[in-house]
Amino acid sequence: MIEFRQVSKTYPGSDKPVVEDLSFEVLEGEICVLVGPSGCGKTTSMRMVNRLIEITEGEILIDGEPNTAMSGTQLRRKIGYAIQQIGLFPHRTIADNIGTVPNLLGWDRGRIKSRVDELLDTVGLSPDEYRNRYPAELSGGQQQRVGVARALAADPPIMLMDEPFGAVDPITREGLQDEFLRIQQDIKKTIVFVTHDIDEAIKMGDKIAILKQGGVLAQYDTPENILSEPDSEFVSSFVGGDRVLKRLSLTRVGEMDLEPANGGTDGLLRIDEGLTVKDALSELIGSGHSRAVVEKDGENGLLTFEAIEDLMGGASGEPSNGGESSA
Amino acid sequence: MSNPALLLLQDLTGGTELVDWEWLGENFWEDILPALQGHIFLSSISVAIALIIALPVGILSARYRKAYPPVTFVTGILYSIPSLALFAILISIPGVAIGPSPVIIALVAYSLLILIRNTVAGLDSVPPETKDAARGMGLTDRQILFRVELPLALPIIVAGIRIATVTIIGIATIGAYINGGGLGTLIFDGIQRQFPTMIIAGAVLATAMAIVADLLLLALERYLRPWARVRRT
């Protein structure tokens, strides 16, 4: 869907490339997260997709066509764009903001209005209450939602998101992440998502591209594989010493194969099937027990330390991913 | 009027009639220097008096918010009265028209709006939590004002002094019309005698003085700005 082919970028007046020989492919309907330390070229890479920044060498293909096949403005109207600064137009109402691209594309008023209302619903803002407000009348989190709605407005198959939840507090951010993953299950956009936060990358990504300084691709894989088999010192230190625990957060206890708990489960610790294995493990250790009961589909399963160890041993081949497991 | 562009060209290239260097040399000590000194005196005394009035008024306006709109209304009206008109009104008031006093009064009147506005803006820019912390440490209101609020507000107040000073140096030239002295004397005499050298001398010196004052105060503002930077981050 989006293919980077040996893409390099050197800014004018500098001789060092900030993105170097970058090649990878984002599959249709997937979220590809670009992650890495600050200044490693994530934003630059993302902005070359919709040609806000022109490529120095190499090419980017969209649906097999080079992204230079049409004018920059035309291209950008077909690609959703959401950024950390949000950039809502302060002098336009929320409805006008969301309707920007449909308006540029010449949709009629009725269609724009119903699309705006639909999107406000999608991002959890009541249309009647919010459509005629101005950005200054919204909280930071609400503005981020409108930013995402605006990017989705013309139903573009591709979305570019640069730290789209970066400007809000951690709790709001988690809520927005969960909500966006829920929306993505329906809309199945092809998304390039930039963040510097490895936890956000693990949570949001179907694939993760880890970049290091100078815009060099260090590893491109599923979150599961990056956590279980980091292929360099750089990657393993970037994902952190707790990568085993991070892997546990990719799976929910409900998804584990648990042995049925036969007989009496009275007095045993009960754990909700929606918890991540990491949280379940934490509860288990905290309770002082060695086993807990997980109720799933009316049957009781037995969660043990051994079961968790088995999961870590056998999970690397499974196509589990952050997007689906945490939804 | 003949073609002004041609005249300009001729003046710029011919050069000799526009500035009479000999005259400048001969009259420097007698005419030019006193005019410059007079101008410096007029401007600095006016800014000083204006500050003495504006600081307390600004501090009070920041405290008692209700007083602020009427204060800006009155000073705003003063500010928008054209200077020649204000000079004219002032010399018509018996008892005011003594020496340079109408000029000084007018210059003070022009500075008030800018200075008061920046004092209030400066005090407003002090974060409430900073004042709260000061209070929590047991500073009295007066100590908070002098040790916390005013130092933090100082860069913005100095920015106001800059604008006021540049404005005043310009307007002070007009004061020469009502015998206020200063560099305007050269300009008015030059107009009267159709002698460009005098006009240019007055204009260049007044402009240079404004720019120098602006740069000096800018340096002061920069020097004071570390406070502001700490405040912002």
Binding site: Q85, L104, E137 | I200, A210
Partner: protein, 217 residues
């Protein structure tokens, strides 16, 4: 005294002086806008351009208005046209400074979002930058207008006419009523300009920006 002042306003030459004053100010302002706005638009994306414009503007502001009028004399001679040129030169800096800072201070994120959504350069200017900068631009025009009305009083010194004629006449002939009549007329004209352009400024401030300003306070 008041009666004497009113008598001056009844003089046959008063409407002519008023007309000259308004004409001088208005034409100078319009020409200044016509010069400053295109320049501001041209340099809106250039840091160097803005730096140069703002510095020229600042130096321009440091030249006393009396000096600019007097300097027009050796170049353009005596009269209305000369005063007009000088007043135009005076009217440019505030508009240029406000327009170029106003356009440049539009939030970078807003511009980036607009570009990212596929607005063209012209669309960004017309739909985003100009409306958002409008209040700052109008504030510059207001400053310039009030200042031009005030400086037009000085046109009298170079034979440019206007209400300053009355002040000079009253001063040189020791006619306090003429002096005051001129001064009051100019003062009222300046205050009307200030208030009038203030109304205009508010009218051109988009509602969303007013709300944002209020929130910030």
């Amino acid at each position: 005294m008041l009666y004497k002042i009113l008598e001056v306003y009844a003089r046959p030459d008063f409407p002519e002086k008023l007309r000259q004053h308004v004409l001088l100010s208005l034409v100078a302002l319009l020409v200044a806008i016509a010069i400053a706005m295109p320049v501001a638009l041209m340099i809106r994306n250039s840091r160097l351009g803005a730096l140069i414009a703002i510095n020229i503007g600042n130096i321009g502001r440091a030249v006393p208005s009396l000096a600019i009028l007097a300097l027009a004399l050796p170049f353009f001679g005596i009269g209305f046209g000369s005063a007009l040129v000088a007043l135009t030169a005076l009217a440019i800096p505030p508009i240029l400074i406000n327009a170029s800072t106003g356009l440049r201070e539009v939030d970078k994120g807003v511009i980036d979002a607009a570009r990212g959504m596929g607005l063209s350069g012209g669309q960004i200017l017309a739909r985003i930058q100009l409306p958002i900068a409008a209040p700052v631009i109008f504030a510059g025009i207001r400053t310039s207008a009030v200042q031009t009305v005030a400086s037009a009083t000085l046109a009298t010194f170079i034979g440019g006419g206007g209400l300053g004629d009355l002040i000079v006449e009253g001063y040189s002939r020791r006619g306090p009523e003429i002096l005051l009549a001129g001064a009051l007329a100019v003062a009222i004209l300046a205050i009307i300009t200030e208030i009038g352009f203030g109304v205009l400024e508010r009218a051109f401030t988009p509602k969303g920006l007013k709300i944002a300003q209020k929130r910030r306070k």
